[in-house]
């Protein structure tokens, strides 16, 4: 398939190097090609949406960027540094944070514990054996301010496993934010949220846009077009178009391959 890359628009004027540079990523699972020559630039400060039909390879792409999956071929650069083979935990320490499509939290911990543990990951090593972590002022303060921001403070003491689905999604985002990441990757944060939850999450992401670069995988087209500065469209593991929401909406290829279907 031909690849359309639009070069006008506000980002073309930004001369900054991309924060994340993906080149020729390939990943197969047996006969399934989940990433096919995937190239992508995420610019500093932008909110970049990754859309595409189910099974297009969005989550797999995210997993490779986060270091949970090793690509078969290709190169990933983050802030000018080659991170293609860097383990996931090292990438997280560099400021690459993610949330998962299938909610991934610590069910047996309290909500506050979940976020405090996320903050702990960015506060030096954890070979500390004596002082009670739950009375660590620094971690708790960070956790509480993030919970307050996400409206989860009333549930701070609640066991995370008992939260409602939408609250768990919010908790995921709070955890991803804990290290003050440079790139926030969100995998369908509104999935299964209902209209109220989607609205709240949209508002939150709009607020976050101002302070962090975001790579947003999302199905909800209204949300994507409302939030994204640029959109990339993935079909069968391949990026068929990148451009402003307006350009993507008008792109005949995209309409045929994706938007037209839905």
């Amino acid at each position: 398939m031909p690849v359309a890359v639009y070069t006008d628009g506000w980002w073309a004027a930004t001369v900054t190097e991309p924060l994340l540079k993906v080149e020729g990523l390939n990943k197969r699972f047996g006969a399934v090609v989940a990433s096919r020559n995937l190239s992508l630039d995420i610019l500093q400060g932008e909110t970049h949406a990754l859309i595409g039909p189910n099974g297009a390879g969005k989550s797999t792409a995210l997993a490779q960027l986060a270091g949970a999956l090793r690509p078969d071929a290709g190169r990933i650069e983050f802030a000018g540094r080659d991170i293609t083979v860097l383990p996931g935990h090292r990438r997280a320490r560099l400021g690459l944070a993610r949330s998962f499509q299938v909610t991934s939290i610590f069910d047996a911990f309290s909500v506050e514990d979940n976020v405090a543990l996320a903050a702990q990951a960015h506060d030096g090593h954890s070979f500390r054996f004596w002082l009670p972590a739950r009375r660590d002022r620094r971690l708790r303060r960070q956790a509480r301010s993030l919970l307050a921001r996400l409206g989860l403070l009333p549930q701070a003491e609640v066991c995370a496993g008992t939260l409602a689905h939408g609250e768990k999604r919010q908790l995921e985002v709070a955890m991803a934010l804990a290290g003050r990441p440079r790139l926030l990757m969100l995998d369908e944060p509104m999935a299964g949220m209902g209209s109220g939850g989607t609205l709240r999450m949209t508002r939150l992401i709009r607020e976050l846009k101002r302070e962090v670069t975001i790579l947003l995988v999302e199905h909800d087209m209204d949300a994507v077009f409302a939030l994204a500065d640029r959109v990339s469209v993935l079909v069968y593991g391949e990026c068929i178009a990148t451009g402003t929401p307006e350009q993507i909406r008008r792109d005949p290829l995209v309409r045929r391959a994706y938007l037209g279907q839905g």
Binding site: A66, G67, A68, P87, G88, H89, R90, A92, R93, A97, R98, F100, S104, I105, F106, D107, A108, F109, D113, A116, L117, A118, Q120, A121, H122, S126, F127, R128, F129, W130, L131, P132, A133, R134, D136, M175, A178, G179
Partner: protein
């Protein structure tokens, strides 16, 4: 959530009972109880150390007795060379009967072995992890069976218990209190550890490894240290059991022993540290009582375990503190 005051009350009552036990044994004219309960404390220590990695770290080891056995053998071998006046092979050091040297050496050796074995085992997970820990323990078992210099499968007797300045460890009551002190010290340290930052990391790794990695924790390292610390605790318990029976044999590291320690943890309540001590007491006392009536006491143990797993998921401890609701 578990009631903290009730939990604390149970701890203090148990401690009080254990502290006064030798007195009661004397009143009852049953001095045998003192050595039975020494065994319970020692196995309680081994079980609590396994709980550190199993209940908190989610690492199901079926080879914990290996480290128990190593600790026991270190004490017995050092005592053997001390009595013989010969040097310990490979190390070239003289043997010793001093508890202050031999017991830390036992714990250290077991911890080191755990670090090496853990480094390999932790590359795997799930059932594989269970099988490979079992395999390593059986390898060590056969290694000690083949060590004829130290008695091979017949084991090795000690002339005497270790020497500890100012204390007569040969006296069962004194030895009992030494075991109790070490167990309490271990439990206190372990309790601090699981609630410290390190403990949060290993508990996080039990619940959700992928999330831990994504947050930025190199969890392999933390699990390895946890594994090594659990091995260290088991090694100390081993040093004590060698002294208690004044005899060591490869049977100490047989897979059935690993299974027994595992059962103590499950029976007492995983992830409670103190529960496994109760589990050790329950199992050893049951064994003691049932074996008076039948040599097939194991047959009764199985159904009992199934009942515990079904109806008291946090074991004896959960049942006592009433925190069996999760």
């Amino acid at each position: 959530m578990v009631s903290a005051t009730r939990e604390r009350r149970i701890l203090w009552v148990t401690l009080l009972l254990l502290t006064t036990l030798p007195g009661f044994a004397q009143l009852l004219g049953e001095p045998y109880l003192v050595s039975l309960f020494s065994r319970i404390l020692i196995y309680g220590l081994a079980a609590a150390s396994l709980d550190l990695m199993l209940g908190y770290g989610g690492m199901v080891s079926f080879g914990h007795a290996a480290f128990f056995g190593i600790g026991a053998y270190v004490v017995a071998i050092l005592a053997f060379h001390s009595a013989e006046g010969s040097a310990v092979p490979l190390l070239g050091l003289a043997g010793t009967e001093s508890a202050l040297l031999a017991w830390p050496a036992a714990a250290l050796a077991a911890g080191l072995a755990a670090a090496l074995i853990g480094a390999v085992c932790l590359r795997t997970g799930g059932i594989q992890f269970i099988m490979i820990t079992l395999a390593f323990a059986q390898m060590l078992f056969y290694l000690f069976v083949s060590l004829s210099a130290y008695g091979g499968e017949d084991g090795l007797s000690m002339w005497d218990r270790s020497r500890l300045a100012g204390l007569d460890l040969g006296d069962d009551t004194v030895f009992y209190y030494v075991c109790l002190t070490l167990l309490v010290a271990f439990l206190v340290l372990a309790r601090r550890l699981v609630n410290a930052r390190f403990g949060m990391v290993i508990q996080g790794a039990r619940q959700n490894e992928a999330r831990m990695q994504a947050l930025g924790f190199p969890i392999y390292r933390y699990k390895l240290v946890c594994f090594a610390l659990a091995g260290t605790g088991a090694g100390l318990a081993g040093a004590l059991i060698a002294n208690q029976t004044e005899f060591v044999s490869p049977g100490l590291m047989h897979w059935t022993r690993s299974g027994q320690i595992l059962v103590m943890v499950i029976l007492g309540g995983m992830g409670t540290l103190f529960g496994p001590v109760l589990g050790a007491a329950a199992l050893l006392l049951m064994e003691e009582v049932l074996s008076m009536y039948t040599e097939y006491w194991m047959v009764y143990l199985g159904p009992m375990l199934i009942l515990v797993v079904l109806f008291a998921r946090r074991g004896v401890y959960g049942w006592l503190v009433g925190g069996d609701r999760d």
